[in-house]
Symmetry: C2
Subunit: 659 residues, 2 copies
């Protein structure tokens, strides 16, 4: 047997070890850049104003600069006559000193001449030759912005560490500052390792996968104030990886590799970092999930991270461990991610002894937020984080969280509440409705495909505005309505959708000569299934139960004989593509997607696809737009034109039932 990571450390320990072995202050540099390029940059010192703004008493109105005292008894009946002795435009230096009963014409922004202490607005005067009649009195200081009333010389403009927005940039500009000293963005060299990795844009070959981490990590470096330099892909060879590290250390302050860190045949990164110099590897394995096989090294006060190759592992370790250091060097405060409380939508199991950071999607419902966790071996898949809103943290000693348990979700970015939330069964018809309705008003629509049952649960919890459903009741022979009762849905409408032709999707020309459900039992036929809770899965299981009865077999036995029953696709489209690419010979699905991919279709029945909408969501504009679009001739014509197998009905878009 082989070496396991000798000493997993906790995340906190890892941070402490880095702090002990690495001094980010030695890396931190500043630079002077033009103010106009400084948006989003971090100022590296306190800035004070060296001047008064404005530098003089300034007219805030067009009018006449006067001694206020001269106007004290002026009113509409009894104007005061004042002599004009000159004119000052904005930007001019006045050559006048105003005496009693004298005025100088000033435009907005002009210097108030000596002797004057107020401006009479031009609207309240009448000019007669070289005199004005003043119809309204002014008080001392009226319509005058006194020197230094915006900024006084000596005043603090921006504090060291401020991230510049338009507003602070305006302050600095007002004080005449045209260049600003900011923290230099730390240079971060990034490379990927792996024999199977190829760069996006190139043709993919069997056995290869596109490099994900280069893009994710380079972008995340930027997000955190760093300057990423991608230096390519290294094959799994010691010499090649070493060369990349040396190249990275020459051009950057921090070097990040991904891949090659697991305790496998490789474990190359660990060995290579130790060869680069002292102290070499300082952390080898962290007690977290995902991201355990992380390596951290320090050589010549350059910080080196060997991130795991899996995209979600690499991203999470970057966020938890690497980003805070890049931010420090860049002068940025720790990233403040918003946190919200949410209830788990389902039970989850975690691992003992490692802290887990589990990605979740967040939906707002009647009783607050629900967190929908990703499922399966998520560390290996980028979709786990890309489609999530944030993550929950599960302590080392906790192995089980129950459904409905309250958790704290750390959000990846601001939780942008969707204008319209559609949770339920996936349908190409919904995609079309969304496309058409967004032409009118570009609502932000969130679609979570969890199957018909999941949609009804979401309606019950008040999380969905609309749920698409096509659930067949074996007892009544009816679609959908019986399930509103089964799921205890209250105060909701059932809106008529359309017919969808369900059947078997098979390859073009049907080479395996599949005729019906019974062919799924053939040894030479491989199927692809749908996820549990989807209407399609229910329909398949309904057919299979009937078949089991006919064969005098148990359903559980029967499905074990079906090749591919356990492989689940998340959508109709995914089923069609699986058949298209030869991963499966057959799958149950709707005609429309079969047509879309040029596949053959063996019809089984017409199912009723409808929508459930809670009454209290019915008046929301995006919901109204959805229904209006569904009812429209445009939708009906377009769906017929584009999609065979979806058939609008006479009452499509109408309320057909309510609970």
């Amino acid at each position: 047997m082989r070496k396991i990571f000798r000493e997993l450390v906790s995340l906190e320990e890892a941070k402490n070890i880095i702090n002990k072995n690495y001094n980010y202050k030695l890396i931190q540099k500043t630079e002077k850049i033009p103010l106009i390029d400084a948006l989003g940059r971090v100022v590296a010192r306190d800035y004070f104003s060296s001047i008064d703004v404005p530098g003089f008493d300034r007219a805030t109105m067009d009018g006449y600069a006067v001694k206020a005292e001269d106007t004290f008894w002026a009113n509409e009946e009894n104007p005061v006559e004042i002599k004009i002795i000159g004119k000052v435009e904005a930007g001019e230096v006045p050559k006048f000193e105003i005496g009693n009963k004298e005025a100088v014409e000033v435009s907005t922004g002009a210097v108030i001449p000596k002797g004057a202490n107020a401006v009479v607005m031009v609207e309240y005067t009448e000019r007669v030759d070289d005199k004005i009649l003043v119809y309204k009195s002014v008080t001392p200081g009226e319509n005058v912005l006194s020197a230094g009333s915006d900024l006084m010389a000596g005043e603090l403009l921006v504090r060291k560490g401020t991230v510049l927005t338009a507003r602070e940039i305006g302050m600095l500009s007002a004080a005449g500052i045209s260049e600003v000293e900011v923290y230099k963005k730390p240079k971060v060299a990034v490379f990927s390792t792996g024999n199977e990795i190829i760069s996006p844009g190139n043709k993919i070959e069997f056995g290869k996968i596109y490099d994900i981490n280069w893009a994710t990590i380079c972008s995340a470096v930027k997000e955190n104030g760093g300057d990423p330099i991608f230096i390519g892909i290294a094959r799994d060879r010691e010499e090649e990886i070493k060369r990349k590290f040396i190249e990275g250390m020459e051009i950057a302050d921090i070097v990040i590799s991904s891949g090659g860190t697991s305790a496998g045949v490789g474990d190359l990164v660990y060995r290579v970092i130790n060869e680069l110099g002292e102290p070499g590897v300082i952390v080898h394995g962290i007690a977290v999930k995902p991201g355990k096989p992380t390596v951290v090294g320090v050589v010549d006060n350059k910080l080196i991270f060997g991130l795991p190759g899996y995209p979600t592992s690499a991203f999470m370790i970057f966020e938890l461990l690497v980003a805070p250091i890049i931010r420090k060097i860049a002068g940025l405060a720790e990233r403040e991610r918003a946190k919200i409380r949410a209830r788990l939508s389902k039970k989850i199991q975690s691992v003992l002894g490692r802290r887990e950071f589990l990605p979740v999607s967040v939906i707002k419902g009647k009783e607050g937020y629900s967190a929908y966790p990703v499922s399966g071996a998520y560390s290996a898949v980028i979709s786990a984080i890309a489609e999530s809103d944030g993550f929950i943290e599960i302590p080392e000693n906790k192995v089980m969280l129950t459904e409905g348990e309250e958790v704290e979700v750390t959000l990846f970015s601001t939780l942008r509440p969707a204008d319209l939330v559609i949770i339920g069964s996936h349908c190409i018809g919904i995609d079309l409705v969304i496309e058409l309705m967004r032409k009118k008003r570009p609502w932000y629509v969130k679609v979570i495909n969890v199957g018909s049952s999941g949609g009804l649960s979401a309606i019950r919890r008040g999380e969905a505005d609309i749920a698409g459903t096509h659930l067949f009741d074996e007892v009544s022979g009816e679609y959908n309505i019986p399930y509103l009762l089964k799921f205890s849905i209250k105060n909701a409408y059932l809106i008529r959708g359309y017919f969808r032709e369900q059947g078997l999707i098979v390859k073009k020309g049907n080479p395996k000569k599949i005729k019906g459900i019974e062919d799924l039992l053939r040894k030479d036929v491989k199927m692809i299934n749908r996820n549990p809770g989807s209407g399609t899965r229910m329909l398949l299981d309904y057919y299979l139960k009937q078949m089991a009865m006919n064969l005098n077999d148990r359903f559980e036995n029967l499905i074990r004989k079906i090749n591919g029953y356990e492989i689940e696709a998340k959508s109709h489209t995914a089923v069609a593509v699986a058949v298209l690419t030869g991963k499966a010979d057959v799958g149950l699905g709707i005609r429309s997607v079969a047509e879309m991919y040029g596949l053959d279709f063996i019809p089984l029945r017409e199912e009723e696809y409808d929508f459930v909408i809670p009454k209290d969501k019915f008046e929301k504009q995006p919901v109204k737009d959805f229904i209006e679009t569904l009812k429209s001739d445009e939708f009906k014509n377009e769906i017929k034109k584009r999609v065979k197998g979806i058939k609008p009905r006479d009452d499509t878009g109408e309320i057909v039932f309510q609970v």
Copy 2:
């Protein structure tokens, strides 16, 4: 009398008029850019995956690919013997098909060979020549990431309109996409107008002010997804302004000027836009404050904004009217600014018939948030928005808001809660404490200078962690302690600060031969005062009241005779600079700032400057750091070295009183 804006329209009307006269869709363009440069950009179409990710069943562990069934009875006592028929590294195409009791060595990421359906981790095997002993059974699918389980071909990757973060960029990269179609940033030409405007970086002359709007507006264009092009400053001449507009229209989609829009001698922008073409000016004046003299024009489907020249007016109109259009062209959703409820810290008056957008600072207290509004003619000063956290909206028909009234504050950016909030009297000693304590831990400290009284009120409302105070009680002759009772402060400590020498700050050499308070009455002496509620102001008023008694005069009469009594500076520093620059001959202040600016100082008395800290804030780490620093020898030595007139005491930093 002169033309007033003929027809002010509401903000909503202005938006409608623009929508009717301008079609942003005609301007909207897309461009293809490398994925790696796409962070923060907005995708211009839906992106689907054209491949499965991974494209094959993939080993997730180093080990041996086997038929799971062959391992079913394996355990630590009874290992199963399996023959190794080869090896597959990641990236290789396997040439094997596994039969019964056969295995292929695989490394993480490798293709699972035909016939195999699981991977036994290397840790649970022992190699003997060309065989392995398997000590643990695996189930079908174990340690295998099946094809398409990250992304399936046909799956939606990112929706049109998505702002790309590292996570979506990872998704696109996983699908092999190396270039992405995004909305082109609209080009926005920006220029400033005004004879008095000069560019930062140049020497300032009397009567001129630095250009603020170029920097604010260009940066705000960037913040909202646009590409600003600054085309310079135009003097207030019709021809010059017209040339700038024409230049802007040639190179940009939108042109923004600032200044020259008021109904004054100028009003040039209005006339020039009408000369440029049809339809010309479509909005001339908006019923808002600030920002009334805004001009909007359309010529050849180019949108033209004539923003007011005042910085806060220009910025607010940009945010309310211009930014939403730039965002639309850039494909961005409307900026979602967080809103919070807060209570007004003081009464405010608004204008009838115009909607007011009033900047406020926000502080969190015991009973929620307090909003501290800016005061005075804020539209003309950039500090009004730069030092605020957000703004409140006051409806057209409301002229008065009371102290304590609940308002909704729209935040400029995320309200970053300060680690330490110091509200009260300004002191250079505090600046030093902050500087020293931030060396250890870089806390974000918010200092609001509202004078000693304002500080005590903030303590009472639970808004301040620390209040600096130097309030002299005329009756007891004591500092600060009597005021804890007068302000009904409860559950707070008084922490000993230091002595500060108060006196008159006069010009170097004291040319006016000022000897004491009585000289303020001299006609040839101009003073600068401090804001009401400040300890310094109280001390001055105390002296003046004594003088009034001696002169048998009323205090109210006496102060009217003092030249400059009504001019208020917000801080000691500001007083010193006023004297330095000749704006005043004398001001009351502390010795330290007089020394700092090389001014002369006439001592009056030693005042006691102390700190009030609520008991429930006492254990906060930043508060502890503050007190620890205050007590430290480093502070005491440094303050003596740097600042004459501030004298630490034996018990500096100790609790000297509690309520």
